[in-house]
């Protein structure tokens, strides 16, 4: 395929130089560190992040205006956080001029679509200052995560320290030190159905995208994509925010990222195509083509 990783200027393996950030970061603390730097430098004046929600491990979109608020949103929550829901409100009652936003590939698509075709999004297009995308294979509704953790893994949600999907397994780490793994096969039926038509793995439309795959534990794979992303990334590097290694020198490296991206895209492309003949002489809608 060759286009599975999207357009990018550079790709590195990186992690934050802040021990404080790394303490609770999912991987290399890239999102938290980059937003913290951009906030300090006035590149953004707030960021839409997945903050803590009303229930354990349920994210709630929030506008972080300080590093402390960013810290509270560290870690991956494997269920839906409708970050784009705040994209207009930040320019209204929050009064922001330069907005940062983090999100999955689909949320990056929403941001870009909103910038180019701002239907009901007056004054939003020119206020997006930094969009950070995170790699995403699929997502789950909250109820799915509850069942996976409480029923399949047999753990109480509030006692979970970290969750991770990696190395072919769903990992649940308890506060008390226990580790439970579930084969991914178990999780499939709990996936959000809408994820099955997604053709983007590494957030192709973000300014900077980042994820765990390709880099060792505690490190992240980072794609620097746009001019804006490149500018901010170079400044953050110069300011000593990140440790990096060339992606070619880390294991498993880009090869694995490409492999997983291809797997996701070809599997979901099939789903998209199968929708055309879903019924007898009737199709289900395909959002990637114009309606006839």
């Amino acid at each position: 395929m060759g286009t599975e990783l999207g357009v990018y200027k550079t790709c590195v393996s990186a992690r934050s130089t802040s021990k404080e950030i790394l303490k609770k970061a999912q991987d290399g603390g890239i999102v938290t560190q980059l937003f913290a730097y951009a906030l300090d430098e006035g590149i953004i004046d707030g960021a839409i992040v997945a903050g803590p929600g009303p229930e354990p491990w349920r994210p709630m979109p929030m506008v972080a205006l300080t590093s402390e608020e960013l810290m509270a949103s560290r870690g991956t929550r494997y269920n839906l956080s409708p970050n784009v829901a705040l994209i207009k409100e930040v320019t209204r009652s929050y009064g922001l001029d330069k907005v940062g936003i983090v999100g999955t590939p689909c949320q990056m698509q929403a941001v870009r679509k909103g910038q180019l075709y701002p239907a009901g999004l007056r004054d939003v297009p020119d206020k997006i200052a930094l969009a950070i995308g995170i790699f995403c294979m699929e997502n789950f509704p909250y109820q799915s995560i509850k069942q996976l953790v409480e029923d399949h893994a047999g753990m109480a949600l509030p006692a979970v320290k970290k969750m991770e999907i990696g190395k072919g397994k769903f990992w649940v780490y308890g506060e008390r030190g226990q580790v439970v793994t579930l084969p991914l096969k178990v999780t499939h039926k709990y996936e959000q159905p809408g994820c099955h038509v997604c053709l983007d793995y590494v957030a192709n439309l973000a300014d900077v995208s980042t994820g765990s795959v390709g880099s060792p534990d505690g490190w992240s794979t980072v794609f620097v994509r746009s001019k804006k992303g490149d500018d901010i990334w170079s400044k953050a590097m110069a300011a000593g925010c990140f440790e990096t290694k060339p992606i070619e020198q880390v294991k498993p490296g880009l090869e694995l990222v490409s492999k997983l991206a291809n797997e996701k895209i070809s599997k979901n492309q099939k789903t998209v195509e199968s929708r055309a003949t879903f019924g007898v002489n009737k199709a289900l809608r395909n959002p990637y083509v114009s309606p006839k």
Binding site: E89, T91, R92, S93
Partner: protein
């Protein structure tokens, strides 16, 4: 022998209207009818049975220049009916929104009227679209003032056109401290620009007042000193914001209001007998055209103390600040004088506003069918909404919109002017014809008269 001339459509105001004018041999208007020919949308009738939260959002869509007036009057009429007192900080956000919208609306109206006026001391009319100075800087200033008004409105009200933040019981969102600073900075910048723009407009108006004639399509048309005079009264409910039945001393009285049908007020059928193909741009209606203002007018005629009244900036200044001038120029002057008020109002409200304050009432009653009303001082004048809410649903809804009040008043004010400057008189009211045309007129037998017009 009087003749009839018709200007249809009129231009450089919001909406769709026309002028049917009976003129004498000198072309002086003996009796004029200015009427809405905007299709009736019937907001008041379709509101019945809908929720009290939904109706003000529909009413907002009556007009995109002054949606703030309809949103706030609608919501406050509901609050008046259910007897809901909103928190102070919610009120302050509404006042900021109101003033921001008025700022933008006055500036927009400047663009609409400037082509009627001369660069002081010259014989050059002002074309706001010219790239040449001094007009270019004025146009830029106007656009910046509008941008400031729209941005502040967007922050305080959620959206500049059809504000999303107001709701029955207060506001959805409080503004953050950063948002307050942003609005404050913009209001300060706006104040300086508004001062400059006001002074520019007053100079242009004073120059016009001294002129004896104006050029229309290459002809010198005399300008009477009493242009736009009428002997009807005026009505205003508040100098800046609004009044409702929840106020201790309400600024408006529903008992003094009555409504009549267009044919109690307008002319019957006439035939156009005078045409001027050179009237810019495209000429007047051809001779032989039939007009019937009684049947064609798409608004009701609201009366206060049994007579039409003038509403708007001049009415506000006359009511609250002893402003005594009258006629078209005085209306324009009064409107410019409101420029700086808008900015001071915003600055004062921002000073008083507490970003961590409550913006939603603890208790929102669902209503027992009592009548409530709110009179919002829209940019164009007093916008009264009346409502009866029971169990959260609207039982009855009525909108008395500024331009609806002004239609019959302005029609009378046309008398004595050369017909070629009738549009100048109309523009003095900053008409918003979509606003005016929102209702279905019901006659004595309760048949829906306006349906006849639609069919």
């Amino acid at each position: 022998m009087s003749k009839v001339v018709e200007i249809s459509p009129t231009t450089r105001h919001e909406g769709h209207s026309k002028l049917v004018l009976k003129v004498n041999d000198e072309g002086i208007i003996e009796r004029g009818d200015w009427l809405s020919i905007t299709p009736v949308r019937g907001v008041e009738k379709l509101a019945i049975g809908k929720t009290m939260d939904q109706v003000p959002k529909i009413a907002s869509r009556v007009c995109g220049i002054c949606p703030i007036a309809h949103t706030l009057a609608g919501i406050e009429a509901m609050e008046g009916s259910i007897r809901c007192e909103i928190p102070e900080d919610a009120k302050l956000l509404r006042v900021i929104l109101q003033a921001a919208n008025r700022l933008h609306s006055i500036a927009l109206h400047n663009i609409l009227i400037l082509p009627d006026f001369y660069i002081p001391g010259t014989e050059t009319k002002i074309n706001p679209f010219t790239p040449e100075e001094p007009v270019r800087s004025v146009a830029k200033r106007i656009q910046r003032i509008r941008e400031i008004g729209q941005t502040i409105g967007e922050i305080a009200g959620g959206e500049a056109v059809h504000p999303s933040n107001p709701r029955v019981g207060g506001m959805y969102k409080a503004c953050s401290e950063r948002a307050v600073y942003k609005m404050y900075d913009l209001a300060k910048e706006g104040l300086t620009l508004a001062h400059q723009q006001m002074e520019f407009m007053l100079a242009v108006l004073n120059n016009m007042k001294k002129r004896d004639w104006t050029d229309v399509a290459g002809k010198q048309i005399p300008l009477p000193k009493t242009l736009g005079y009428h002997d009807l009264g005026y009505m205003a409910s508040h100098p800046m914001y609004a009044s409702s039945n929840l106020d201790e001393i309400p600024g408006w009285d529903p008992d003094r209001w009555t409504d009549v049908r267009p044919w109690d007020w307008y002319m019957g059928e006439v035939e156009v007998s005078l045409a001027d193909p050179s009237y810019p741009i495209g000429g007047t209606s051809p001779v032989g055209t039939k007009a019937n203002p009684q049947m064609e007018a798409c608004t009701g005629v609201p009366l206060y103390d049994g007579a039409p009244v003038e509403v708007g900036p001049r009415a506000r200044l006359a009511t609250y600040k002893n402003f005594t001038e009258k006629g078209t120029w005085a209306q324009h002057v009064a409107r410019q004088l409101e420029y700086t008020d808008c900015c001071y109002t915003m600055i004062n409200a921002l000073d008083a506003y507490n970003p961590s304050g409550k913006v939603l009432a603890d208790c929102i009653p669902q209503g027992d069918g009592s009548m409530g009303w709110a009179a919002n001082e829209a940019p164009r004048g007093c916008d009264v909404h009346l409502a009866k809410v029971k169990d959260g649903r609207v039982l009855w809804y009525e909108m008395l919109v500024p331009t609806t009040w002004n239609f019959p008043t302005c029609s009378r004010a046309l008398t004595g002017a050369p017909w070629q400057v009738a549009e100048l008189i109309v523009r003095g009211y900053d008409p918003c014809v979509s606003c005016a045309t929102h209702m279905i007129v019901v006659d004595e037998d309760k048949r829906i008269v306006a349906q006849k017009l639609i069919q």
